[in-house]
């Protein structure tokens, strides 16, 4: 724990030294490395003693600890945090003088430190402090470009959503620790309250699901996510999408650790939320033209995959299948880590494109592969990883989730029906492939559609290096599943509350052959390419224009656009897809709306405002003070009459 504390201190110091770039780099890098050492040690099987601050702190002692669950999240936070912070130095460099760039770096350091604090906190009060620190730092970073109206709107939606979540967390801890009488809200004390009566337990789990689901961005609580992620600077979007929303997943898993086995209904609800988030997330992503909103909706999709894992795990616990439980939770945790890596990679690479071209509109770009080769290569690796293609890291974690669900198929009780979620997972994977083919194809391949893409230049090395680092992490995890699956299973058995040695064995045994498979695949791709190059050496290839089926002068305007690419799929989903089409005599355009935010929440809020305005009119309008006093008098008389009616003295 000392090392974690030292690491966090260094990160905060780095934030204070943000005006000196070299010092910021050294301190932040050192801080992240120092914090990562104990996390790796814990994942390798060591145990770390808790730290208790028992002085007169409210609501019991403040405890900090590092177990395998905290460690895997800490690792994701520190690695992605470091990459985003380094990237931000270059990304914001040209803004120096126009914006408070130093403050932005400081806030990023605060964000990373509070994220890390949230996962090592073992008591409600420090957890909530870290949670709020994270929410506020993230809010201030989201509104960095506050002169734009949509940024302020996104920031407001985000801050309201996150505070609703925080309020629910207050409620959660109050319900959970309420009847104990000691007022001790350390996690150990909370864990000791279990088991609960069905009613109170159900209340705790439902509140936890909504509060943490809101943070994670699961459908239908995702409405804030695409807004905030599109508005923030690229490295902040990367950190939010990669790590901040994962705190919701951490919260859910921690709840299961402390609560014990949840009842079946909770597992089914989580599974259903996962399926809905996964499918709707990717369908909505298909409809987007804005690269950052598109990536944000893919975060919703991946949260869905993670929730499918958690749901399978919870149902495995509820129906008494320890192997499924461990595999489900392990898959969820591994996918959390992997998604942190490839999603931040994708956001940073998208940031590189935005930096070079000044637009987020996919359909204005094209042909960037020749102009920005490093960005293209890393984005391609991130795309293949998020789609779950072997031999990259997305495949490894999806394989574990698939195994949990497929084992459910032959489990022989209600778990069988959970196994059918395999189909949903396959559907999500195939749709994600369609979406990323669209993005890569329209953004990087073909010909530039506007001059801003023609003039694009590769970004500076300071932005490329973090991209390469994250891409290497994706490839390495993908190539060596045996390095991550056993630690993942350890975390999974911790969440399931089962001994690590027995439960996950079959899958742990399969990690070896899976590693052989991924390495063999990588080798055969390598050999095939080598053979192709060697055999194709004779004769210089000729160059020509693309075959236009006889049409001699193709123009970039003829190239397939993102809208046309996604049209057949969106046509199938019609009403779910959230696409508005505008058709006039000369033009046809589609634009994406969010079905929850634009069609439910905003109208509901308008309705509430209209009702409130009517109420205000009834209260004070026209008559002024005398009408107001009349209402007060009427209220007093009504209360007195009520008390008279129930027969008690005032």
């Amino acid at each position: 724990m000392t090392l974690v504390a030292v690491g966090l201190t260094l990160i905060l110091l780095a934030g204070l030294a943000a005006s000196r770039e070299a010092l910021f780099r050294i301190l932040l890098g050192a801080g992240c490395l120092t914090g990562a050492v104990p996390a790796l040690a814990v994942l390798a099987g060591e145990t770390v003693r808790d730290v208790r601050v028992a002085a007169a702190t409210p609501f019991g002692p403040w405890v900090f600890g590092l177990d395998a669950l905290s460690a895997v999240f800490l690792l994701a936070i520190l690695s992605v945090g470091a990459a985003c912070a380094f990237y931000g130095l270059t990304y914001l460099a040209h803004e120096r003088g126009r914006r408070p760039v130093g403050a932005a770096h400081l806030l990023l350091a605060v964000l990373v430190a509070s994220l890390a604090l949230a996962v090592v906190a073992r008591a409600a009060v420090p957890f909530l402090i870290a949670w709020e620190g994270m929410a506020i730092a993230a809010y201030l970073l989201v509104v960095l470009e506050h002169e734009r109206r949509e940024v302020r709107r996104a920031g407001m939606i985000y801050v309201v959503a996150t505070h609703v979540g925080t309020l629910l967390l207050f409620a959660l801890f109050a319900i959970w620790g309420g009847t104990g009488g000691t007022g001790d809200l350390s996690f150990d004390a909370l864990g000791a309250h279990a088991p609960f009566s069905a009613g109170r337990g159900g209340m705790i789990l439902a509140v936890a699901l909504i509060a943490f689901g809101l943070k994670a961005g699961a459908v239908p609580f995702h409405f804030w996510l695409p807004e905030a992620h599109a508005a923030a600077p690229a490295h902040v979007s990367a950190l939010m999408s990669g790590v901040v929303i994962k705190m919701g997943i951490y919260g859910l898993l921690r709840t299961i650790v402390l609560f014990g086995a949840p009842p079946p209904w909770w597992g089914w609800v989580v599974l259903a939320l996962g399926a809905a988030s996964g499918v709707l997330g990717v369908v909505w992503a298909l409809a987007q033209h804005d690269i950052k909103r598109l990536l944000a909706f893919h975060s919703v999709e991946n949260i869905g995959i993670i929730l499918l894992g958690i749901g399978a795990g919870a149902l495995g616990l509820a129906y008494g299948h320890p192997v499924i439980a461990v595999l489900g939770f392990a898959g969820a945790v591994l996918h959390t880590l992997n998604h942190a890596l490839f999603k931040s990679l994708l956001f940073l690479a998208a940031g590189s494109v935005i930096h070079a071209t000044g637009t987020r509109e996919i359909d204005h770009l094209g042909g960037l592969a020749r102009r920005m080769p490093a960005t293209t290569a890393t984005f391609l690796i991130g795309s293949a990883a998020i789609v779950g293609l072997p031999p990259l890291n997305g495949f490894v974690s999806e394989w574990v989730v698939y195994q949990a669900l497929l084992r459910g198929v032959s489990a022989g009780d209600a778990m069988q029906f959970a196994g059918l979620a395999v189909v949903v997972l396959a559907f999500i994977g195939a749709l994600a492939l369609a979406c990323f083919v669209k993005v890569v194809g329209v953004l990087y391949l073909g010909t530039p559609r506007r001059t801003l893409a023609t003039d694009a230049r590769e970004s500076a090395a300071g932005m490329i290096r973090p991209l390469v680092g994250l891409a290497v992490a994706c490839v390495v995890i993908g190539l060596v599943p045996i390095a991550v699956v056993p630690p993942g299973l350890r975390v999974g058995s911790l969440v399931a509350g089962l001994p690590a040695a027995t439960a996950g064995l079959p899958a742990a045994a399969a990690a070896g052959p899976a590693t052989m498979f991924t390495i063999a695949l990588a080798l055969s791709l390598f050999v095939a390419w080598g053979l192709y190059v060697a055999l194709g050496r004779r004769g210089q290839p000729a160059e020509s224009a693309t075959w236009g089926c006889g049409y001699p002068s193709p123009t970039p305007r003829m190239a397939y656009t993102a809208s046309s690419f996604a049209a057949p799929l969106l046509g199938v989903f019609r009403s779910f897809a959230g696409v508005r089409t505008h058709r006039t005599a000369q033009a046809f355009a589609t634009h994406a709306v969010d079905p929850v935010l634009d069609e439910v929440l905003v109208p509901a809020w308008r309705g509430a405002r209209t009702a409130a305005a009517w109420l205000r009119h009834a209260q004070r309008g026209g008559g002024g003070l005398s009408r107001y006093l009349l209402w007060v008098g009427a209220a007093v008389v009504a209360s007195l009459l009520y008390l008279l009616a129930v027969g008690r003295n005032p």
Partner: protein
Amino acid sequence: MTAEGLIAVGLLGIAAPAVPGIAVKTKSLLTGRRGPPMLQLYADLAKLVRKGRVYSRTTTLIFRAGPVVALASLIVAALFLPLDGREAPARFAGDIVAFAGLLALGRFALVLAGLDTGSSFEGLGASREVTIASFAEPTMFLCFIALVLAAGDLSLSGMLGTPLAAAWPHAGASLSLVGVSLFVLLLAENSRVPVDDPATHLELTMIHEVIVLDHGGPDLALILYGSALKLTLFGVLVVSVLVPRAGLSGPAALALLFAGLGVVAVAVGVVESVMARVRLVRVPQLLVGAAALALVATILQLR
């Protein structure tokens, strides 16, 4: 990984170009034509390999890597199929996910290679290909679920090997449905009638052929061989489900497999002669129909 298993995969690789040849021959004979020789594709491949290469000025490395990655991933996928009816050269728990992932990797590479040309024809084909695949992949996993239920194993070797033979007596009806569903999937994944017409010469109506419109010479040879191999791999899936061969000796099982592949190819040809291509918007419905069959197969086994 046994030598026999690798030899079997090698034989399959050699035989693969004959499978589409049989389908074409069947169709020609049924429609009253002579048609090209059954082994025409071998001659085409030999000719293409010797040709020079022409690349569009728009393309990048992705265009050249596409066919290579697509073929390599299919060859690796072949290693997971138990060709002798018992054991594949490679297996692990959940390798069906790897099998599906490899097919997806091949598709990803090929479709991106098409988009690399910047032509709207390739864009059209790419869009259709991924749309159809979005419905084909869940269907494939539904078939796998039914097989997992029947065989109780999470690897292709288990699902299509000895446990499947043991499951036939009590799950025969269900497994037949899976076979039919996989056959529809074969037609869709390999761009055959009624999903796509491989014989058409109008770019706007094609799916697979239009993605590779700009590939020529050795690159096209890789693609043509890859699509023959993909058709063969799906044929192996269909034959393995419908004709469990675990009781036979190795060579006999292999011989039966090749005979079965011939029958599948003839069936593809028959379908092409008696059916027209369905409208593109109907293709998802066709695949959902196949998925419904697989779902019925699953429900039949739920107890």
